[in-house]
């Protein structure tokens, strides 16, 4: 790709043909913002990014799907509520629930779309302090068995950007207890709960571990010179988010641990 890299060394896993053969779809809705960044993260990890349009009737030939952040349909009604009924979403829901267990990652607005789709339990409401918040956020990776976290160490702390207004994760106590018991809390906020999320939950998975959603943005921390490290030095590295994309690649090519 001619766009890689802007500065610094390309951190991509070597461009092995077997990795480049992996096709990861990135969905664009009206109002999506981070589809380009997500596609770039996919390419930096060594895979092929496939643009998907919300109005498409077929999913096509993809090995995994990313639903990126933004404000689909302007967040009208509820964040993710209208996007959830897009033609392509019903295909993604079917594929995620199928025996093939298509890996699906929802980031920020994508996470909201996944909860509205009932692929993930609970919901997001407005931040408890009501403000839009943008900061570098430390997370603890609590489950490294999902399709999107295989390359992390259990308990590893990573720093990636967070930017949202409707980021407060809520679910009833029974659902929260079940998520904890089944190890489906994949990421927890560390040091500071930025939005009032129940039990500091930043991201969760479905029971099979192929569907993961989180509010912070791994796709904005995949490249030296453009991640959290270059801002305020609160820890982590500029590329703490890259593991999401290499994890799913390893899953796809059968190299999971």
């Amino acid at each position: 790709m001619t766009e890689l890299p802007l500065i610094g060394e390309a951190v991509a896993v070597a461009a092995e043909p077997r990795l480049a053969g992996a096709r990861i779809g990135v969905v664009t809705f009206p109002g999506t913002l981070d589809d380009r960044d997500a596609a770039r993260a996919v390419r930096l990890a060594g895979a092929t990014a496939v643009e998907l349009w919300h109005g498409d009737a077929e999913l096509g030939d993809v090995d995994a799907v990313i639903i990126p952040g933004g404000f689909s349909y302007g967040d009208y009604l509820r964040a993710g509520a209208i996007a959830r009924f897009a033609p392509l979403m019903s295909k993604i829901i079917d594929a995620a629930n199928s025996d093939a267990k298509l890996p699906v990652l929802g980031i920020c607005n994508g996470f909201q779309i996944l909860t509205e789709s009932h692929l993930l339990p609970g919901s997001m409401i407005k931040n408890d302090h009501l403000k839009f918040l943008c900061r570098d956020q430390v997370l603890r990776v609590e489950n490294t068995n999902t399709a999107w976290t295989l390359d992390y160490q259990a308990g590893q702390e990573i720093t990636i950007p967070l930017k949202n207004q409707d980021g407060q994760y809520i679910a009833d106590e029974k659902t929260l207890d079940a998520l904890e018991a089944e190890g489906r809390v994949v990421f927890r906020y560390v040091g500071f709960n930025p939005n009032g999320s129940r039990r500091d939950i930043a991201g969760i998975s479905n029971a099979a571990g192929n569907v993961v959603g989180l509010m912070p943005h791994p796709e904005h921390a995949v490249e030296p010179g453009f991640g959290p490290e270059s801002l305020d030095g609160i820890g982590g590295s500029d590329t703490d988010g890259l593991g999401f994309f290499t994890s799913v690649l390893n899953k796809i090519v059968g190299g999971d641990k």
Binding site: L77, R78, A81, I82, F85, T115, E116, P121, G122, S123, I125, K126, N127, D128, H129, L130, Q168, I170, A171, D172, G196
Partner: protein, 83 residues
Amino acid sequence: MPRIVVDVMPKPEILDPQGKAIVGALPRLGFTSFSSVRQGKRFELTVDGEVTEEILAQARDAAETLLSNPVIEDVINVEVVEA
């Protein structure tokens, strides 16, 4: 033309951050009698022609599937209002 009105409210057990902000703003304007505010949504669905039982059932279905999210909200009212 008749309209079907659908009212949706955040579930009682869910903190309503917007309502909380509003109740904080009221006393600053001299409205000191209100101890709590909860903010909901009202939808008006216009029907071309008569509202049959079937159309009303459709409205109830739409209220539960799209207009509200049962995880965080309750549909508290679905009624026909003549224009």
